[in-house]
Amino acid sequence: MDIIEIFLNLVDKIEKKEILLDEAIKEVESQKIKDLIERENIFKLNDLTNSFANQFPIKAYYLASLTYEASKAIEERDLKAYSAFRLGHSSCFLAKYKEAMELFEEALQIFESLNNRQAIGVVSGGLGNVYFSLGEYQKAMDYYNKALEIAREIGDRQGEGSELGNLGNVYSSLGEYQKAMDYYNKALEIAREVGDRQGEGSQLGNLGNVYSSLGEYQKAMDYYNKALEIAREVGDKKGVVCSLNNIASAYLSLEKYQEAEEYLKEVAMTTKKMGDKLGFAIVIANLGSLYERKANFQEAIKNYLKASLIFKGIGSHLFEKILKKAILKEKEAFLKMENELLKKYSGKFVAILNGELIGVSEDEIKLAIKIYKERGYVPVYIEKVGEKERIVEIPSPRRG
């Protein structure tokens, strides 16, 4: 059995819960396997990880973890850095951003000591993506600028375009739409100049997103359709899915629910065919949101739960992050109505869902049980009216 088969078998065992990841790592570190590991194998394993990333994110993560540990056996620093970068990349697919950050920083440090400019640029871009996902836009911008500078320095035009697009994303998230548009247009120009059709499609999609944020849905739709056309032309399945999803979102904003549903169902079908579980879970959650807007709560809950099961099945923390956002939104609603609630329910627990008060009780647990029985495990916000927020002390050393 060759080393790649051994690793894939271990991944299979972890997935079937026959062994734990830690146990598999110990096996990889055993002398028997260590002797078989060569530089070439590590590169092959890392490439394999990359090809799994979209379709099988959790498999990719396990394989990247084993490869990263194996890379330590070969005392070549560039290999360790490359493996750390790949594992960080896989962690991003599972929304494990903290872990990704640590790994990217480790890779960056090594590449910097080796003065590998190209790799420093790529890893900086990766760190930018992590900070962007965490909403730390200033840090994201710093890393994207570093990556842009290096791309220009080494004459990597495609990389330059991609970093300009990323900077556009930051400005767009900050609500600076004109600046975002400038960056996207520069990136679009470069993509066209170097004949990067996929990049051209991405930037058209990004420009569509800006128009959508400005409420110009028809214009947004024109850009999305152009992006869709290119994605189909070059066989960029991910781009097709993204464009279809964007078009559905624009229809949703225009309250054209029928059209939005048709597009979302097409996305669901495409992602399922592609085996893109993460994409499929996201579109199912989006369908849930569509049904919620149509006040079809039964169908909405069904879709949310289905999405949550898929997210958890692939080990993604994305759903937890969505849930956290939902709870924070309900908290905002609670704070808005707090004065009103204080007059009527001081000292009692209240439950807020979809910005509305749905229950009051003197007992937090009884209130939660009643709501869960009636509506399933919905993200309901429960708070004691008039109680000062206390800080919970957990002084034991722990992660998270």
């Binding site: 949550s308 099961l309 958890k312 937890e320 849930l323 956290k324 709870i327 924070l328 908290k331 937090e364 647990i365 939660a368 049980i369 869960y372 029985k373 495990y377 919905v378 993200p379 309901v380 916000y381 429960i382 708070e383 927020e389 800080i391 919970v392 002390e393 957990i394 002084p395 034991s396 050393p397 722990r398 992660r399 998270g400």
Partner: protein, 137 residues
Amino acid sequence: MEYLYDNEFQPPALVLNIDVSDLLQERRIEKVSCKIDTGADMTVISENVVASLKLTPIKIIPVRDYYGKIIEQELYLAKLLLLNCEFNVEIITTAEKIGFIGRDILNQWVILLDSPRKRFNMTKKAWKLWNLLIVKR
């Protein structure tokens, strides 16, 4: 009930295996290892257990950690079963495999440590009744 210290930890620690379920008891995870932690205000359960139970958070609370840093964490409600008693409690999560039983639960028990013999004893808090004095005339 008497328990042995867990020698997997150095120095040996007080560890209990508890069952955790969602409030409606649709799902249940058995034998979740938790250290007894009198320093913790609240019980902490591994995030993998919470994810498997598909719990949804009810709010975000500030938590002060080991370094004195305040972090925001999701608060969940869960049912814990330990020593044949059920507790519906608020919990937070940890990335560690092992959880911590905090004072929210511990304060309801009498715990006697016999550290030289690596044993500890846990019993439900005994409520002392007043003696009824009958005064004869």
